[in-house]
Structure formats: structure tokens, C-alpha cells
């Protein structure tokens, strides 16, 4: 193999040049191409001639602004790509338009990139459009970003001007969860700071722009992780029935048992088919494959093949963050086709949960989503949607209306189906011929006899956050103080009363409902029921709270997912990340934090004895003698 051919086998890194219109993106692109010796012979002369004809000074942007309309208006309309090579590594520069009108083209260009250069005019600073571009990069999942603070020549290379903009960038990036690999003072027009540092910015001793992008890592294909093979088509050109698709993550081998979702069909891989290649026994992420299977099962485009023991999640409701391209607003109640990998699902927008405010970074309520808005949506489908928040291809997709792409989205989380449950919406008792017999003992009588009120102490939080530990310690402390206290542990309940329930969203809701019913009976009998149960869904907990009122004390046991993962007392995180458990809260199923817990205990910060002390104090004041005394006075 020649030296040239070897140098080429490093993959080209696509970098998008983003930023506000007129901040100098195309100029920077032209400069980068020129300084890296990537322009073809005669290109610079051709550009010079175009400028002369228009009676204007040399304009670097004409290198990539290939359309006459772009040159005539001095504006980039659509995204373009150009290549250069630096120290043997090939790059693809994606020049993206900065004008608001052409955001769809910017997103189209940026979605193809692995890294970005955000160009900011030092005189203008962080404009709304610059922030929006940064936010779009974040939404697109681009994490390697260098910022070029441009036009330093226009402020006489003053450090103070640069420092002010740099501070704003750092602050905004931190707020939206980005970090800049470098913030470089440049003048694209003069060529300062791009390949070499200029004496005019002698006060800056950081990386040049090209050094910053040289440090961006090569993209990695997700070959580890569970197998995800969305079916693209099924061919029957001859006696073989070949299932084709691109492996989006993981790997497969001949003989592997596959499951095709949705549905429960399973089959083993009989062969991996190909043309004009050496036969292969296995294939991995990024490869387009054709396989045959040993069972005559029905397989069609849109299904996702996985290993039978590590299937992806399915859900009929999703929380999405979406970016709208549509001139016609998206409205709640409106129907779309949701495209995810090769599948298409009919969906309806159930609710618009807020529009992201680019400047203030809050969410604003709205009844429609306008063009270029970034919005949080809840969508529902009559069909199960196969998704995997850990695999890009099964996490992000597009919404179409009449076959037109009107929005791009990323799935925030799958949502459970709200069940009409007796607790929240009971049928009138006489409709079911029920005549409940009321106890003749009043709550006050019990309270007086026991010396405390009955109630429910409900511990919610991620697995491994410390609920069971705290609940057991609390039971012991209350018992020693003379309380009639009983521990109801979620796992223990699943071995008895709830042994028939699994972990689907609906079954989890039912699990919580039954535990809540038992706790209510105990509370009404005057006891203190201590519940330790993940109970991830807010509405499930709210239902119990509304039945119990003041005597329901919700305790949010909080710990970072990393802490929980490290503790992993039940070995569940390890199994979930190996894909052995699906629908695992915090990994592949949602957890909804309480809005207003009676107490929040951060077990990253607080040791169990101190946490228990605070819990006892809370119970003493809300259910204990202190309350009885207060009530009497």
C-alpha cells in the first residue's frame, strides 16, 4: 500500500461552520481552504474575476457560495461542502447558512457533521441567532465545538473585546450543557489565528483554530452495545429471502437468535449474504447487511432486529424535543407520520409541553409550534414504537406531514400509558352493587389511643438511591419511639400481593396502585406505613396522595445516576447496561421527579443517620405528638 493510500484510510471528519449571518462563516471556510492548499488551480483567479465584475474587493465566500444568487446577495442560501487535508487528516467543511430564513439548510448541513466551528463576530457578540445555532448543535448531539471569535481586525485586535465575548460564550455554553474545545481570536479576512497566530494577538497563547480541530477525535461506530438492526427491505430475487438493513449498533453472527420487534417473532441467522466480497461469519455497526434466517417468519421494513435477550424498548407515547421546519404551525391534536430508523408510525401530538426560550432558556407555554421553534412535545401512537435512547438511529428521527419533513426530533423518554384506575376515577359504588361498611372507629380515636396519627411515608427515587436503607432505618427509629410503624418494601410486595405483575408501564402503575391501597388501609388503621418503591411516574403517586391528603408524606430520595450505578446494591445497573433488563428506570425507562416532596434527601450529601434524624423530625411534627398538641391548642 502506498503512503497516499494509507493516509486516506483515516476517515474524513465532517465539521460544520455555524453562526449568525454576516459573522464571516463563508469567509472562514474560504480561508481554511486557501491556507491548507486545498483550492484547485485557477479557483482563486476565478473568484477574483467574479469580484472584479461586481466591482468589489476580493471575497473569500465566493469559493463556496456557488450559486449566482448567493454571490449577488452576498448571502449563503444552502449548505455546501468542501474538503481539505491537514497533517494527513482529511476534513469535510460543511458551510451552513446563517440567515434565519435558511435554518432548515443549516440543520441539514449540521446534522451531517461530527464537530463544529461556531463563528461569532467580536463586534456583535452572542446574537439570538448565534445562540440558536449553538442550541441546534446541542440538539443535534454535536459535542466537539471550537469557537472562532471573528473580525478581530475590526476592533484593532483588542484583548478586552475578545475577553468580553469569550465570557458570554462560556456562560451560555455552560447553561445549555456544551463546552468549547477552544475559543480562538481570529480574523478570517486577514488570516489571523486560523493556521498561525498573529503578532497582533500577542496576548493570546492558546490553540489556533486548526490546532483545535486537529484535536477532535475520530468518530467511533457503536459496535459495542446491544444489536440494533432496523429492517430496510426484504428481497426475494431468487430462492433466498434476504432481510437487508444497516446495523446501527452492536454486532451479529451466524447462528445468533434474533427477535424482530414489534411482535414476538424469533429466528436464527442462517447466512450473511453479500456480493463480490469474501464470505463473512459476522458483521458490526455501520455495515449494510443481508441475512437469511432459519424460520419462515414474517419480516417487514420498519421492524428492528435485536438479540432475543436484549430487545429495544417499545412505547406508544413519547416525550420529544423537536425542531420545526414548518411554515404552517404544528398544533396539539394534529396528526403526523413519525419516522424513526426505517419505520413509520402514525402519531398525534397529545400536548405541546413548552417552547424552549433560546435567550432565557426556560420553557414557555404555547398552543402551537412555529417555524424554527424548539419545542417539547408529547406524542401518542396507536402502534408500538420501537426505540432505544442509547442508539442514535432509534432515538432521533423526523415528523412528516403529507410526506414532507416538517420537524426533526430527539426522543427524551418513552412515557407510560395513563390507565383509568379505580382510585382516580371510581365507578359510583351503587353501579357496581357495592355498599362499603364504614368503620365505627374515628381517626381521632385511634390517634388518641396510639399517640400519633396514621399516615404514609412514601420513599420514591431511582434504584440504588437509598430508599430501602432509609426506610428500614426509619422503621426501627419510629418503633423505638413507640410508633406503630410497618415497612412495605416494593420488592417484598412483588413476591406476594404483586407477584403477578411485570415491569411494563401499565404493570408498574398497577404495582404502585396496589402498594398504595395497602398503605392506605394501614394508615386508616392508625399505623404509619413506610413504603420504599421506585414509583417512577408522578401521576401514580399523585393518585395515592389525593386519596390520603395531609397524611401522605412523599420523600424524594435523590442520588446521581452515577452514584446509583456505582452502588448498584442489587446488581441491576450492570445487568441493565448489558441489556439483560429492559425498561429499567433511569436507563431505559423514565423517572419523574416529585414536584413538591415533603422532604428531599440527597444521599450523595447526607449520611443515613442524619437523614433518619430529619425524617423522624418531619414525622414528629406532621403525625406525632407535636401535631396532636398543636391541634389541641
Amino acid at each position: 500500500m502506498t503512503a497516499t493510500a494509507q493516509a486516506h484510510s483515516r476517515p474524513a471528519l465532517p465539521i460544520v461552520i455555524a453562526g449568525h449571518v454576516d459573522h464571516g462563516k463563508s469567509t472562514l471556510t474560504g480561508r481554511l481552504l486557501q491556507e491548507t492548499g486545498s483550492l484547485s488551480e485557477g479557483k482563486v483567479e476565478a473568484v477574483r474575476e467574479m469580484c472584479r465584475r461586481r466591482g468589489m474587493p476580493f471575497e473569500w465566500s465566493f469559493v463556496t457560495d456557488a450559486l449566482q444568487a448567493e454571490r449577488d446577495q452576498g448571502i449563503t442560501i444552502d449548505t455546501s461542502q468542501a474538503r481539505f487535508r491537514w497533517r494527513g487528516r482529511p476534513y469535510i467543511l460543511v458551510d451552513a447558512p446563517g440567515h434565519k430564513e435558511f435554518l432548515k439548510n443549516m440543520v441539514t448541513g449540521a446534522a451531517a457533521a461530527e464537530a463544529a466551528i461556531l463563528v461569532v463576530d467580536v463586534k456583535e457578540g452572542l446574537s439570538e441567532q448565534t445562540r440558536r445555532h449553538a442550541y441546534v448543535l446541542q440538539l443535534l448531539g454535536i459535542r466537539h465545538i471550537a469557537v472562532a471569535v471573528n473580525k478581530l481586525d475590526a476592533v484593532d485586535y483588542r484583548q478586552a473585546a475578545f475577553d468580553a465575548v469569550r465570557g458570554d460564550i462560556e456562560a451560555y455554553f455552560a447553561e445549555i450543557g456544551l463546552s468549547a474545545a477552544a475559543i480562538v481570536p481570529v480574523s478570517a479576512r486577514q488570516g489571523d489565528g486560523i493556521v498561525g497566530l498573529s503578532r497582533r494577538t500577542g496576548w493570546y497563547d492558546g490553540l489556533t483554530l486548526i490546532e483545535a480541530i486537529d484535536r477532535f477525535p475520530d468518530p467511533i461506530l457503536p459496535s459495542e452495545g446491544p444489536l440494533r438492526l432496523p429492517v430496510q427491505d426484504v428481497y426475494k430475487f431468487d430462492d433466498r429471502r434476504i432481510v437487508v438493513g444497516r446495523i446501527e449498533s452492536g454486532r451479529l453472527r451466524i447462528g445468533d437468535q434474533l427477535a424482530f420487534l414489534p411482535g414476538a417473532r424469533r429466528a436464527r441467522i442462517k447466512s450473511i449474504e453479500s456480493w463480490n466480497t469474501t464470505p463473512t461469519l459476522s458483521a458490526a455497526a455501520g455495515q449494510p447487511v443481508g441475512i437469511t434466517v432459519d424460520e419462515d417468519i414474517f419480516v417487514e421494513r420498519g421492524q428492528v432486529a435485536s438479540h432475543a435477550d436484549t430487545p429495544p424498548a417499545t412505547a406508544t407515547r413519547l416525550a420529544l424535543r423537536a425542531f420545526s421546519f414548518s411554515a404552517v404551525p404544528l398544533r396539539a391534536g394534529e396528526s403526523f407520520v413519525l419516522r424513526l430508523a426505517t419505520a413509520e408510525y402514525p402519531v398525534t401530538i397529545e400536548s405541546i409541553d413548552g417552547i424552549v426560550q433560546i435567550d432565557a432558556l426556560g420553557r414557555q407555554a404555547a398552543d402551537n409550534v412555529g417555524r424554527h421553534d424548539i419545542a417539547d412535545l408529547t406524542v401518542a401512537s396507536p402502534e408500538p414504537i420501537v426505540l432505544d435512547v442509547g442508539a442514535a438511529a432509534l432515538r432521533r428521527g423526523v415528523l412528516t406531514r403529507f410526506a414532507e419533513i416538517v420537524a426533526a426530533f430527539v426522543i427524551n423518554m418513552p412515557l407510560p400509558v395513563p390507565l383509568p384506575l379505580p382510585v382516580s376515577d371510581p365507578l359510583p359504588a351503587n353501579d357496581r352493587n357495592l355498599t362499603p361498611t364504614r368503620s365505627s372507629i374515628a381517626a381521632a380515636e385511634r390517634e388518641q389511643a396510639f399517640g400519633h396519627a396514621g399516615g404514609v411515608i412514601w420513599f420514591t427515587g431511582l434504584s440504588g438511591a437509598g430508599k430501602s436503607t432509609l426506610a428500614a432505618a426509619l422503621e426501627r427509629s419510629l418503633f423505638e419511639l413507640g410508633y406503630h410503624a410497618t415497612l412495605l418494601d416494593g420488592d417484598a410486595m412483588r413476591q406476594g400481593l404483586n407477584a403477578d405483575l411485570g415491569f411494563s408501564p401499565a404493570e408498574r402503575t398497577e404495582n404502585v396502585r396496589r402498594i398504595g391501597e395497602v398503605a392506605r388501609v394501614l394508615a386508616e388503621s392508625g399505623q404509619v406505613a413506610i413504603v420504599a418503591c421506585i414509583s417512577p411516574i408522578r401521576t401514580d403517586r399523585e393518585r395515592i396522595k389525593s386519596a390520603l391528603g395531609e397524611s401522605f408524606l412523599e420523600i424524594y430520595v435523590k442520588a446521581g445516576i452515577e452514584t446509583c450505578r456505582a452502588r448498584d446494591p442489587k446488581g441491576l445497573y450492570g445487568r441493565a447496561s448489558r441489556g439483560e433488563i429492559t425498561g429499567f428506570t433511569g436507563i431505559s425507562a423514565p423517572y419523574e421527579e416529585p414536584a413538591a416532596p415533603a422532604l428531599e434527601i440527597d444521599t450523595d450529601q447526607l449520611a443515613p443517620p442524619e437523614a433518619t434524624r430529619r425524617l423522624v423530625a418531619l414525622i414528629e411534627s406532621r403525625l406525632g405528638r407535636a401535631r396532636a398538641i398543636q391541634a389541641a391548642s
Partner: protein, 266 residues
Amino acid sequence: MSDLDALESESVFILREAFNRIDKLAMLWSVGKDSNVMIWLARKAFFGRVPFPAIHVDTSYKLPEMIEFRDRMAKEWGLDLIVSRNEAALASGMSHQQGRVTCCTALKTEGLKSVIAEHGFTGVIAGIRRDEEGTRAKERVFSPRGSDAVWNFRDQPPELWSHYNLDPPPGTHLRVHPLLHWTELDVWRYIRRENIPVVSLYFAADGRRYRSLGCAPCTQSIASHAANVDDIIAELGATTVAERSGRAQDRESEGAFEELRANGYM
């Protein structure tokens, strides 16, 4: 996965999307190096077959070696070949002497449009690449063409994350560009790796060779001693001359090629 594997993977994915979603699909086959790579990629995607017709728009001015190669390879590769000529324009004496853009429009663009109309194609696969030319750099992978094959480059639809515009409205068609992200050098390295046949005109004879193939009157050969694929790859590693520098129609005026493409040229 090597860079060529990654390019091959994307092209195969694109071809399979096109085949799945487009009822009346065809591939343009200019018999140049790029379109031979494209035929090859189709055979990769469809396990040795090309399951749609290959269209050759014959201007009658093509270099004779190209026509010989076309007829030989069409047979060897088992292609369903459609040859389209604008006979009316040829009968009226159309040639580059009427102006290169006029001639290209009549013989290539109109030739293509008539074959699309005649067969009712709703998708046409074309082997253009971004690195060839500035307006091609701005293309989409699935690029809608309006009625009369017009490319509305001022308002192209969004395209991201392998989600393409797959359903053109009636009366319009899609251009599908599976080689959009390849470079000239990638094409030659893939030809070497896969041992894909190409027209002999690409190899130097008497110190000259063709780098890009078109009609005889408007295509210039370049000075070169590259006599085989390895030589060409070495030559391209060193050159700074643009690939289509020998194609006269691109440079009739500043916007000539853009105008050709906006009106339906490939």
C-alpha cells in the same frame, strides 16, 4: 471499517432506500468511471443484480470507445439498457456550434426529460459528486425535481439523519445521488479495490488521457503518463487542477453550469 467501506455502506443504504420507495426507478449510466462505480454499488446492494433499467443519454457526439464499452458491459452486467437520443434536435442539426449550453440542454437535458416522461420514471439515480463542482456541492441526496425537471435550489427540503424525501408529488421526480459524498480519488481507489472495468480513454496513450468523459467536441484530454489505476491515484494525489477543467460547457460563463443544472441537467 475503512473510509471506502463507510462510503460504500452509505451508497448501498441510499440505493436500497430508493429501490424500496420509488416505484418507477432508473439509473443514469454515462459509462464514465462514476456511473460504473454506481452500477457496481447497485450490484452490491442487490446481490449481483441491477433491478432497474440503466439509461444512457446518447448525444451522438460521445467518444466511440464509450459506445463500444457501453454495449459490451451492458451485456456482461446483464443491464436493462435504455438508450435515449433527442432525434428531433439531431435531425435539425443540433451541435455545440449552436452554443454549448444550448447543445447540452437539447441533447442531454431534453434527452433525459423525454425518457423520464416516456417511461414515467419517478426516480432517477445519478452519479454526481459534491467535489466536482460548486452547485453539485449544494445538492441533497434525494433531490426533488419539479414539473419540467426544474431544480428549485433556492428552497430545498431539509434532509438529515438518513431520513430522505422519499415521496415526490405527482408529476415530479426525484434525483437520487448515491455518490454525493465520494471524491474523485475515492472513486479511483474503489475502482482499484473492486477491480471495476472502465473505458480505456482514462489511461494515458501518447502522453495524454481523459480525466472526465463527455462529448468529443467539448471534452479535452490532459497531459498525463498515468497508464493504469495506480498511476492515476498517484497523479490525483499531486494535482491541484480541477477534475472538470476539460469540460468546456461548465465554463461558458459564470453561471452557465448552474443554469444547466437548474433546468434539469444532471
